[in-house]
């Protein structure tokens, strides 16, 4: 009854293609944004920010990045963590070597560096496809990490290989409190998510999906496969790069290669499988799930006084079985379940 769209007629194509055509959706999103931007900073504890909210936002951004490449463009990638690492290290080096650089610009440059690496990752896609391409991304993941670990220039010749990220200072304001970091991350992620949503509903998004679904037909319509794939790689890497920089600057506080291991690549992949491939909302849902589950399991293990190591093993088992579960039952993940829920709500309370 509350969610019906009867009476809401679109009179122009523009309004029909709008991001949130149903009024209730519009209101929902505005309320959500208000909560995130205004309410939460007032009530949340620093722990909530640092352990849940900030990582959630960062992973959502990385998940959007991977979703663009794997979910929309259909190129399975196991190297998203490497993109994040490039973003982080590039940002660090830009800040270090070019004095007086605004950090936001450094973030963007970090993203662009990651995008360039992404294009390099994507070049083999001209000849190699599907599973083989995934193995290629694996090669790149290992190689990039090795470079960042072994080539001392990247870490500014630090003996331990772990470097402190510079402080985030914008227009004289130092972002060192949890709240400020949260708001900065929230702003960046919201903006980039909006841009991503726009990209996927225009010709760019359609070109990705066309290549994913049937690349021969796509070519025949005039989509250029290599260009489309490389664009997907580049934009995906950009998103992951910025996420990686945020990971270092607003969460970890350090820039270290170990944080961007193969394990992280897999986690991001799991986020989009569980959350929903080919869905921006799904990226958020998957990231939320991935962030909250370990905490939930920890609490569960604690409550039943089981050994702590069990929690991390249960985590692995749960993720593994959920992947399989979602692939079997609902390949479009939580996002689809959300959609189905909304559709049921539309008919409520008349479900005929």
């Amino acid at each position: 009854m509350f969610y019906r769209e009867a009476g809401q007629f679109k009179t122009t194509y523009q309004s029909d293609s709008a991001l949130f055509p149903i009024l209730q959706d519009k209101i929902g999103v505005l309320v959500g944004l208000a909560i995130f931007f205004l309410a939460i900073p007032l009530v949340a504890t620093p722990y909530l920010f640092s352990a849940i909210l900030i990582p959630f936002l960062i992973f959502s951004l990385a998940a959007i990045g991977l979703n663009i490449l794997t979910g929309y463009a259909g190129q399975l990638s196991l190297g998203s963590a490497a993109f994040m690492a490039v973003g982080a290290f590039a940002t660090y080096n830009f800040m270090l070597r070019i004095p007086g650089k605004p950090i936001l610009v450094a973030f963007i440059l970090g993203g662009i560096s990651a995008a360039l690496v992404g294009i390099a990752f994507g070049l083999p896609s001209l000849r190699i496809r599907g599973f083989y391409l995934a193995v290629t991304t694996l090669a790149m993941q290992f190689f990039v990490l090795w470079c960042l670990t072994k080539i001392p220039w990247f870490t500014n010749y630090s003996p331990s290989g772990v470097i402190r990220a510079q402080q985030v200072v914008i227009l004289g304001y130092v972002f060192d409190s949890q709240v400020s970091r949260y708001l900065l991350t929230l702003s960046i992620v919201s903006l980039m998510a909006l841009m991503a949503k726009n990209m996927v509903r225009t010709n760019l998004g359609r070109s990705w999906m066309a290549i994913r679904d049937m690349d021969v037909a796509a070519e025949v319509i005039g989509f250029r496969p290599l260009q489309t794939k490389l664009t997907a790689f580049a934009i995906s890497a950009f998103y992951c790069g910025v996420a990686g920089a945020l990971f270092a600057y607003t969460y970890l506080g350090t820039v270290e290669p170990e944080a961007y291991s193969l394990d992280l690549s897999f986690r991001i992949l799991f986020m989009i499988i569980i959350g929903g491939m080919g869905s921006i909302l799904g990226s958020f849902l998957g990231a939320a799930f991935m962030t909250l589950l370990p905490i939930g399991l920890n609490m569960f293990v604690h409550h039943f006084s089981l050994p702590m190591t069990l929690a991390s093993n249960l985590e692995l088992m749960t993720f593994g079985s959920l992947i399989i579960f979602f692939l079997i039952v609902e390949p479009h993940g939580l996002a689809r379940l959300w959609q189905i829920g909304k559709e049921k709500l539309r008919l409520w309370p008349f479900p005929y």
Binding site: P124, Y132, T136, F143, K150, I151, N313, M317, T318
Partner: protein
């Protein structure tokens, strides 16, 4: 360049390549029969080794006696995987199946560590890792006795499997299924049972690989990801070829060691981590179907 040293490194590489080949063998079996890239093969190796060790420790028996119950466990695991994971996804595309096996990998890892603990353990097969005295004395080359026995075991395994496939009814059924699922169904071959057999056999191969690797490097979590190295092996050797898996393994093992020893010091070492993958990638650019694989013709 010291020739003796080179030969040592080469042979060492070849023999470690044999290990990779054994993991790759499990991959090939499953792919040949069901078209699935079983990412979880490495986890199965880990699971097999840990279970064998765990059973031997819990029951206080030697590793060799523990092998039999472990075989049963691996068969059960294989059948369960086929039933629970693969059967529901049988019509999906290969990427979906691949991702399911990634999920399986993580599940198995969590399970193994939950059951048997997560610290590295030593596995003693009673075969020592010492140089063959004969070769050492006469030719001054160090070849590990253990490695040689591994190679022999691998050769035996391949022979047994090959004989199994060509001379038994089950083996014939397996080959039919590998060739053409629909045709095999039409002839009345019980597809699912065959797949169950394949996964069980792959599980046993994983056990052999796990025992040998575990004895060499200890049974630990890292085993799963070291097994990822089997992927470049498969790319070189093709996903459907048993001899390809062997040749691919040898090439990867040898080149990885040689690169590490000769090129490594120039660039700070640690090349082993990515060299096989980059090699495979370069290879793919030239020959996207692998050395022995079948060329794909896509019809519109």
């Amino acid at each position: 360049m010291n020739v003796i040293f080179f030969i040592e490194v080469l042979i060492g590489g070849l023999l470690s390549g044999v290990m990779y080949a054994m993991v790759a063998l499990g991959f090939v079996l499953i792919y040949k029969a069901s078209g699935v890239f079983n990412f979880a093969q490495g986890a199965m190796v880990f699971f097999a080794a840990a279970t064998c060790l765990g059973i031997s420790e819990t029951l206080g028996i030697s590793i060799w006696w523990a092998i039999l119950p472990t075989i049963l466990v691996m068969i059960a695991l294989g059948l369960a995987t086929e039933r629970i994971v693969l059967r529901p996804l049988v019509n999906q595309n290969e990427i979906t199946l691949f991702m399911a096996t990634i999920g399986l990998t993580f599940f198995l890892e969590g399970l193994v560590q939950a059951l048997w603990g997560s610290h590295a353990k030593a596995l003693d097969l009673g075969i020592e890792d010492i140089p063959l005295s004969y070769v050492l004395d006469n030719y001054n080359i160090m070849i590990s006795q253990f490695d040689l026995i591994s190679a022999a075991v691998c050769a035996l395994l391949v022979t047994v499997l090959t004989l199994l496939f060509s001379h038994t009814k089950t083996g014939r059924a397996l080959r039919a299924v590998a060739d053409d699922h629909q045709a095999a169904l039409a002839v009345g071959i019980p597809l699912q049972r065959v797949w169950g057999v394949v996964w069980a056999v792959a599980g046993i191969v994983a056990l052999v690989a796990g025992l040998l690797w575990g004895a060499r490097n200890g049974v630990q979590f890292a085993l799963t990801f070291t097994a990822l190295k089997a992927l470049p092996v498969l790319i070189l050797g093709g996903f459907t070829s048993v001899p390809g898996a062997i040749v691919g393994g040898l090439i990867i093992g040898a080149s990885e060691k040689l690169a590490e020893v000769y090129v490594g010091p120039l660039v700070g070492g640690g090349i082993e981590g990515w060299f096989p993958y980059v090699l495979a990638m370069l290879f793919l650019l030239v020959r996207p179907e692998g050395l022995f694989g079948e060329k794909l013709i896509r019809r519109v």
